[in-house]
Amino acid sequence: MLLRLLRWRRRRVGRTPVVGVCCPQGAFGHCFRGTPSYIKSRVERSVEFMTNHSNNSTKSVGGDSADHADLFELAQLEVTGVLETHDAMRLERLFRESPDKVQQEVIELQAALAAQVVLLPDVQPNRALIHEVLASVRRDIRQSDADMAPIASIGVRRGAASSRMATSEDSQGDPTLAVRRAEDLRWKRAAKLWRAGCLAGIGGIVVAVVLHVSTTRQAVRISELALQNVVSAQLTSMIGAGLPEFLDQRGVVRGLVGASARESGSVAVMMSPKFDAVLVAWIDLQKDRVLRLEAVDSETAGVTAIGDFTVVNAVGGTRLLVPAGAANLGTVWRLVDSGGNVVFTGGPATR
């Protein structure tokens, strides 16, 4: 639910400049249509990569050669789409622990493998397929909009034109560009109204939580508020549909504290033995940050990456799957930013 809400809001608010329309055709280096020489070079590089890695796996960059060989084997299998969850997690760990140079090699190798055409038939899709693809996506967008309608009605007047997908015709030529800009302005205003509507509905509660409750208590307070009828529907919609179920297990809500004074937001990790998952909820985190939740075994100090998420709204949440055995009541949770820095941490050791 939350993800669909975030996508809906992004379409409404985050209208980024249309890619490709302003660029000359063929400016994109990976275009496959009509570029057989490019495909050939990718295949040649694929062969070269595999030859190099099979010959040099024992003198690899980054330490343990077994791990290095494992990294490249798993990276190759990932592209084929057959990796099981535990192998995918191991690949992520090996990748993160590798030096930048090795990471770049893995990225290049996987791209070369993905582009390979050795086993593929030499057939081309019907030219009309693109229209069917776009129609399918439009249907999915409309369905998503319909699902979000109750929330969308807060503070926004929706016209018939507003729910359609931005078309390529909107961005061709100056007159239509002006129209598109005007439309964008309207959406920006609508976004403000939407935000104002949301804040009017739940703002009092959320602001009180943000301003008056300590970091750990804030997280628990959100949980309590969500269980109350006052704001439960809206807050649950913003944080995640599974919130009440997670809150049934009061003993496993962990508040995370900022690793530095710059981290002013609040984060809670909620576990429920009923689900193989955790719910991460936050208040007042910087938007657009990409964070990774990690579970640290308090006895062995072993680290398991649970998953990545993006902070799209200041108040929000996400549900992440947890592999069996990766977390327990003694787990120390931490959030790591895209630079590998621990920005929030919490658990038995910090309580």
């Binding site: 975030l6 996508r7 379409r11 209208r15 980024t16 400049p17 249309v18 890619v19 490709g20 329309v21 994109f28 990976h30 275009c31 496959f32 249509r33 057989p36 050939k40 295949v43 694929s46 062969v47 595999m50 030859t51 084997e73 190759q76 299998l77 592209v79 084929t80 789409g81 057959v82 099981e84 192998d87 990748f95 990225i107 996987q110 993905a114 582009a115 055409v117 050795v118 086993l119 593929l120 038939p121 030499d122 057939v123 081309q124 899709p125 019907n126 397929l129 069917e132 693809v133 776009l134 399918s136 996506v137 967008i141 997908m165 931005a166 390529s168 961005s171 990545d308 799209v312 895209s338």
Partner: protein, 188 residues
């Protein structure tokens, strides 16, 4: 703008539902996804349905694309392969595991080999079988079962009473050998 930033901007446009971005994404990868779908599903009509599903899934998950973890082509093809394998598994009347003993060279029902109706695809699968025939038996078998027929590594390992690691290695080496042997030839 460099390629990773360009790709990230493109995916932001896809996530926002911009038709121009979706068109561009399709132009870059549509044909490759379609060829993969034909290879896995063995039917151009079903491949067309699958391509639509793949691009819908790409739209749904576009905001999760991370250029520091993979190139866009890898990300698109990974989603594509997963969805195709899921589709294959849903579609297939799975042959009893015992029947897999005869599966090499004798295609199981409902797989791409058997269901290919287009002459082009039939010819392609004949060529693939011929190429795979030059691989060692285990590698050939694992590629056939996992890469083409969509069985999981675990299923093949259990059926063959061998460690999953052996299956993984065989698949990895087999694909590598195919690329080494035929990659440049196929592209040239």
């Amino acid at each position: 703008m460099d390629q990773p930033n360009e790709d990230k901007t493109l995916m932001n446009g896809v996530a926002a539902g911009h038709e121009a971005s979706l068109r561009l994404l399709y132009e870059r990868f549509g044909a490759l996804v379609f060829r993969n779908a034909c290879q896995v599903l063995g039917s151009t009509s079903e491949a067309e349905d699958a391509v639509q599903d793949v691009f819908v899934q790409i739209w749904r998950t576009a905001d999760r694309y991370d250029p520091s973890r993979s190139k866009l082509i890898t990300w698109v093809m990974l989603i594509s392969r997963r969805m195709l394998i899921d589709r294959l598994r849903r579609r297939m009347i799975r042959p009893p595991m015992g029947a897999l003993d005869e599966s090499i060279g004798v295609p199981a029902p409902q797989t791409a080999y058997a269901s290919a109706s287009d002459p082009e695809l039939m010819e392609h699968f004949t060529k693939v079988r011929r190429r795979m025939g030059e691989l060692p038996e285990l590698q050939r078998e694992v590629i056939d079962l996992v890469y083409i027929k969509g069985f999981s590594l675990q299923e093949v390992a259990e059926q063959r009473s061998m460690p999953v690691g052996t299956v993984k290695s065989a698949l990895s080496r087999g694909l590598q050998r195919l690329r080494e042997k035929f990659g440049i030839e196929a592209a040239g």
